[in-house]
């Protein structure tokens, strides 16, 4: 059986893996994080149908897990790639998670007894998780990971609670990073994106004002399984906001930061506004946009519905500054309504920064390892951006999803499939 290495377990990588596994290829799905699922696992709903993201993603994650042709190597990273198309050797570092994956049943007894609480990055740090943890209930594989930075035993040699309570005997503090060499015919890179940190864009006060949050944090907050159980909470009294401002293009379409358009944020904000209204009828959502780029199938209609049925107020203008009333924590968004030519301050209870989606951290390192090129934005460069978008300069190494160029979920899925087709062509020897 021929093997293919898929790097990145987000929706694009999952799609590549399933497409290839379902036609009889063996897949090594390497994921840096403890669970596959990528950013889609963090979303509440998806536009323009408001499908529940986890509901449609989890079956695919489980399918990967249960598939006899797929080996998920989570918490692992690719360190080297030698050889040529059809016969590569990839060296993968399996980071010590201090858990025997074979033995762990994911029961959670250990988590319950772990005394070390740390900010939960999967919930936008809005709540706490333990040092031995499952990122979220639907995580795949369903095995625990010990966070070596924070584990009391690993850092101070004390505690050991998890080991004591684990009836399966899965906790192994002595575990070391290991390396495995994989022989593969082709490689698909689908490492997705990271979120831009708006802290240093002082004008919006992120990190300074309690009620300025990012869209990803909002997404976790509005999600029923998120840290607030789906409640939108504002400082100081955890009331739900009356008015929310969504601010587009924070760090994107910005020659000082990311010049490109992220392609998804306009729709994302519309969706989040609609969700706000579905949760609380009295919320007034405002979307501050530069151009409302509803360019996908059914998107323009979604945008129109957002306005007509959900009362979204679209304001064409990129705000210049947010100020806060220190006592009430309400915010004033200062903006120029570029249609009416009015510079105004809008008082809101919450401001959501739709931050730029930037190349995944470590993309440059991985590009060097794989000997593929980056483009001017730090995304992976296609061999021919017009006619060979999925190919890289290295034959047999393909790219799919956001890491190739900004795109939404269906486009990522399409490319995930497409890269699988290219990998099959190569593995079958038809590479031209």
């Amino acid at each position: 059986m021929k093997s293919v290495l898929v790097i990145g377990g987000g929706i694009a990588g999952i799609q590549s893996s399933l497409d290839l596994a379902n036609r009889g290829y063996h897949i090594y799905l390497v994921e840096r994080e403890p669970s596959i699922g990528g950013h889609m696992a963090l979303l509440d709903k998806t536009f323009p149908t408001n499908d529940c993201s986890m509901c449609i993603l989890a079956p695919k994650m489980n399918e990967c897990n249960a598939h006899p042709n797929i080996d998920i190597l989570s918490y692992s990273e690719v360190m080297d790639l030698s050889g040529n198309a059809g016969d590569f050797t990839a060296r993968v570092q399996r980071k010590a998670r201090y858990i025997n994956e074979e033995k762990c049943t994911g029961c959670g007894d250990c988590t319950a007894k772990c005394p070390s609480k740390v900010p939960n990055e999967y919930n936008g740090n809005l709540d706490k998780r333990k040092s031995i943890f499952l990122p979220y209930p639907q995580a795949v594989p369903r095995v625990m990971t010990i966070d070596r930075e924070h584990c009391i035993y690993l850092t101070k040699g004390k505690c050991g609670n998890c080991k004591k309570v684990c009836n399966a005997g899965a906790v192994d503090y002595e575990q070391k990073d290991t390396f495995v060499d994989l022989n593969v015919a082709a490689v698909i890179v689908a490492t997705g994106f990271d979120m831009f940190d708006p802290t240093h864009m002082q004008e919006y006060g992120y990190g300074k004002y309690a009620n300025v949050i990012t869209a990803m944090e909002y997404e976790r907050m509005i999600c029923a399984s998120g840290p607030t159980g789906g409640h939108l909470e504002t400082a100081p009294d955890k009331e739900h906001p009356g008015k929310i401002a969504f601010i587009q293009c924070v760090g994107s379409r910005d020659l000082q930061h990311n010049p490109y358009c992220c392609s998804v944020c306009c729709m994302h904000a519309i969706k989040e506004s609609i969700l706000a209204r579905e949760h609380y009828e009295d919320i007034k959502p405002y979307i501050f946009y530069t151009d409302l780029r509803a360019v996908g199938k059914g998107f323009e209609e979604y945008a129109v519905r957002g306005e007509k049925e959900y009362g979204i107020k679209y304001i064409r203008g990129r705000p210049g500054q947010i100020t806060e009333d220190a006592s009430t924590k309400t915010l004033t968004v200062w903006y120029d309504d570029t249609v009416n030519r009015k510079v105004k301050g809008l008082e809101v209870d919450m401001a959501v920064l739709c931050t730029s989606l930037i190349p995944a951290k470590g993309s440059d390192k991985l590009a060097a390892i794989l000997d593929i090129e980056l483009d001017e934005y730090g995304l992976y460069k296609s061999r021919d951006e017009l006619t060979a978008p999925l190919d890289t300069r290295r034959p047999g190494v393909f790219i799919a999803g956001y890491c190739q160029s900004p795109k939404d979920i269906p486009e990522s899925v399409a490319q995930g499939s497409g890269a699988a087709a290219r990998a099959t062509e190569v593995a079958g020897g038809a590479y031209i």
Binding site: C52, S53, M54, C55, A58, P59, P137, S225, G230
Partner: protein
């Protein structure tokens, strides 16, 4: 006399509501123990007769739970479920059965909380309605 403890059957679709119930479990959300969940592939698979049969046999309440409209794993099964339950409710009224004993809810895979609160509310409501007089208890 012991307090009335309703017996409730739930039909949960495999893709959303069953997972929502799982999530309630994984999140350790406490809810009343009166409910017994039966897994079906789709809420559209629930014959109206299942519901009536359960009542007939003495169930105090029946919960049918599926994916939100638009989210159905099978495109539109839940819409059919909705039509059918509505029809059944009309029948129940005519039969003199309290339609409040049957509840149709959309519970997604991420709504563990909603699952728990739905059960809680439903049990409370059924407690107010009292035991179902059909069937042998």
């Amino acid at each position: 006399m012991t307090e009335f403890s309703p017996r409730i059957v739930a039909f949960c679709c495999n893709w959303c509501s069953y997972v929502g119930a799982d999530l309630a479990g994984t999140s350790r959300l406490k809810y009343p123990d009166n409910i017994r969940i039966m897994r079906v592939m789709c809420s559209g698979q629930v014959f109206p007769s299942y519901i009536l049969k359960a009542l007939e046999l003495g169930a105090d309440g029946v919960l049918v739970a599926g994916c939100h409209i638009g989210d159905c794993h099978y495109v539109s099964g839940n819409k059919k479920a909705q039509e059918r339950v509505e029809t059944l409710l009309r029948v129940m009224k005519t039969l003199g059965l309290d339609p409040r004993r049957v509840r149709l809810e959309w519970i997604s895979a991420s709504e563990g909380m909603k699952f728990a609160s739905t059960v809680k509310e439903f049990v409370e409501e059924i407690k107010e309605l009292g035991p179902n007089l059909l069937g042998v208890r």
